[in-house]
């Protein structure tokens, strides 16, 4: 380990592994370390015994639940948007060759006391029971506008400058009602709260377009895809990319201590009495706790079940978004379910998650609206974790710290953080559009 590297990455979370892969492909000499003996850090997938150890102390899991190795329980449950940034990153790096994906069966929203399928196209809007007959026509017109909107073509703007007009004003123009606004804002545009209504509408429209494009991408019943064997596959896939391009991997390295010079600039990492030198550090918040600040907490529940989530048309993989207003909360609640059909549980078993930004100290009570949707559960675990963001100046200390994962059930914020860090570290913008152009060319 007493060697010299350009970048040392600490923690093998998904963000850190993507960065390790990208930097190694760029020819950067990377050392990647983790205190755990598995990949994934906070974003890993645990087998049954690991799950029991984490949440129930040292207990062995009950035998009736099946083989431990058959479980891959995500610690950060999220689906991938079919046309989203993570898929584009996977294609850009060719990491898809290490992975297999399935389309997610369903995308639902909890509105008016019911779990309902999310429409995202004019056609779907007309069939949806979410809206009455007149509201359907208004929503259909709105979806058509969004679908046709092209930033560069003023004819599609319907006389509005979306960089000035707010989302609220745009929606008012189409006369949509409160429940429609809720499901569009939260289950299609995937906003986590209602602040977007007072912001320029451009972002919301682009998000809605992403949702529709993702839906069309794999001709699925939802805009999401998900890897076989769970999300823990993703950090491992990017780590392998890094290794293939020369990255050095050291799992099971306790006490990774970051060393600084007198000027406060990073010079290396010490572990087990050996020091590796480097010019830059990339890490998750847990490795440099003095350089991060708490920005909130996430409450989550993890359940093992023997049935799909009720009212989701027997979906083996599903997301249900509960918009904040439906619960009189400040932020949305997310319900996520996957199953043996994604090889994350033994035959007949389902894994469900409920998560939200915590607003109380009691996750069990706070998550009740979500856990009530699950029906009977075989086992359930409740947890709370803190979220952090960096407060250091990377240009002063050369430390690049990722922000903790949020409660959302998609990866767009995760990859945005990665791309921003990549630019800070390298000074370069990662161009993910080339492959999409190729994809578009393929479609034509």
């Amino acid at each position: 380990m007493d060697e010299e590297y350009e970048v040392i990455v600490l923690g093998t979370g998904l963000k850190e592994c993507i960065l390790s892969g990208l930097l190694s492909v760029d020819g950067v000499k990377v050392l990647h370390m983790d205190r755990n003996d598995y990949y994934g850090g906070e974003s890993t997938s645990l087998n049954l015994n690991q799950l029991w150890k984490k949440f129930r102390g040292e207990e062995k899991a009950p035998e009736h639940l099946g083989a431990s190795r058959d479980y891959n329980v995500d610690m950060m449950p999220k689906f991938m948007m079919g046309n989203g940034k993570l898929v584009r990153t996977l294609i850009h790096t060719d990491v898809t060759k290490y992975l297999s994906f399935k389309a997610v069966d369903g995308s639902y929203v909890f509105v008016k006391g019911k779990v309902q399928k999310v429409p995202a196209t004019p056609m779907e809007a007309l069939k949806s029971s979410l809206m009455g007959i007149f509201e359907k026509r208004r929503a259909g017109k709105f979806f058509s506008f969004v679908q046709e909107y092209d930033e560069k073509d003023p004819k599609t703007h319907d006389g509005m400058d979306l960089t000035r007009v707010t989302t609220k004003e745009l929606i008012a123009k189409y006369g949509l009602d409160g429940n429609t606004i809720d499901f569009i804002g939260h289950a299609v545009a995937l906003h986590t709260n209602d602040q977007h209504l007072d912001q320029p509408a451009f972002d919301t429209v682009m998000r809605m377009k992403l949702y529709a494009e993702s839906l069309a991408r794999f001709q699925g019943t939802s805009p999401y895809i998900y890897p076989l064997y769970g999300l823990g596959e993703l950090p491992q896939a990017f780590a392998r990319l890094s290794a293939v391009y020369g990255g050095t991997y050291m799992l099971n390295k306790p006490e990774c201590k970051v060393e600084f010079d007198e000027g406060g600039k990073v010079i290396g990492v010490t572990s087990e009495g050996e020091t590796a030198k480097c010019k830059k550090i990339v890490c998750d918040p847990s490795y440099l706790p003095n350089k991060v600040r708490k920005i909130g907490r996430v409450a989550r529940a993890i359940a093992i079940m023997s049935h799909p989530i009720p009212n989701t048309n027997d979906s083996h993989s599903v997301q249900v978004i509960i918009p904040q207003k439906q619960l009189a909360r400040k932020s949305d609640m997310y319900v996520f379910c996957c199953s043996y059909s994604h090889n994350v549980a033994p035959k007949g078993k389902f894994i469900a998650f409920v998560s939200t930004d915590a607003e109380t100290d009691n996750p069990q009570t706070e998550l009740k609206p979500g856990t009530d949707l699950l029906g009977p559960v075989d086992e359930i675990f409740f947890d709370m974790y803190d979220r952090y963001e960096p407060v250091n100046e990377p240009e002063l200390d050369n430390c690049f710290i990722s922000t903790s994962y949020d409660a959302t059930t998609h990866f767009e914020t995760t990859v945005a953080d990665v791309l921003n860090m990549y630019t800070l570290i390298t000074g370069k913008q990662l161009d993910l559009s080339v492959d999409l152009s190729a994809a578009s060319a393929a479609e034509e």
């Binding site: 598995y38 990949y39 083989a67 190795r69 898929v87 996977l90 294609i91 850009h92 060719d94 898809t96 060759k97 290490y98 992975l99 297999s100 994906f101 399935k102 389309a103 794999f218 699925g220 895809i225 076989l228 064997y229 823990g232 596959e233 491992q236 896939a237 780590a239 392998r240 290794a243 293939v244 391009y245 020369g246 050095t248 991997y249 050291m250 799992l251 099971n252 043996y340 059909s341 994604h342 090889n343 035959k347 492959d435 152009s437 190729a438 994809a439 060319a441 393929a442 034509e444």
Partner: protein, 206 residues
């Protein structure tokens, strides 16, 4: 979901750094050898079509990509392997002694459904070095180890000059095929996310 008939067989190659794992793969698939040693860079997996009884199979041979150097292979690397190749250097007693660790690591990480009968193949590489004068692991000792692990096949090779490489991989392919056919894997329908190469290739054709 109904299981799909196996046409892709996964083989993984394990062993200490520097025993010649990557060179063996390259010699078998590409008939190439590089004298330049660096801890593996750029090796990933290689594929080779093999034919048995009028059926064509794709052998997918996975290198460790250097992650074995500090015992940092992930569970995904091991998953779904149909055969495990263990490699040691006949000139390095340490690499032979570590075979037990590699075999046990495989059984823990891969958790095969029938661990007693999972197919391993042992390769003793670098028999060409110094015309055999620096050899420290005898063939007898290696064969005794194989016998103690359920009579697994043993080959002595030189990736450099190509000695026995083809024979070793023929055996590996045969064992992988037998293992792959016996395993009734649950293979969900997957979607094609598409690789850059495919996209670019298709784009060029437009």
């Amino acid at each position: 979901m109904p299981s799909r008939r196996r046409t892709l067989l996964k083989v993984i190659i394990l062993g200490d750094s520097g025993v010649g794992k990557t060179s063996l793969m390259n010699q078998y698939v590409n008939k190439k050898f590089s004298n330049q040693y660096k801890a593996t860079i750029g090796a990933d997996f290689l594929t080779k079509e093999v034919q048995f009884e009028d059926r064509l199979f794709t052998l997918q041979i996975w290198d460790t990509a250097g992650q074995e150097r500090f015992q940092s292979l992930g569970v995904a690397f091991y998953r779904g392997a149909d055969c495990c190749v263990l490699v040691y250097d006949v000139n390095s007693m340490k690499s032979f002694e570590n075979l037990n660790n590699w075999r046990e690591e495989f059984l823990i990480q891969a958790s095969p459904s029938d661990p007693e009968n999972f197919p391993f193949v042992l390769i003793g590489n670098k028999v060409d070095v110094d015309d055999g004068n620096s050899r420290v692991v005898s063939e007898k000792k290696a064969k005794a180890w194989c016998a103690s692990k359920g009579n697994i096949p043993y080959f002595e090779t030189s990736a450099k000059v190509g000695t026995n490489v083809e024979e070793a991989f023929q055996c590996i392919a045969k064992d992988a095929l037998k293992s792959g056919e016996e395993e009734e894997l649950y293979l969900p329908d997957t979607i094609d996310v598409g690789t850059s190469n495919q996209q670019r290739s298709t784009g060029c054709e437009c």
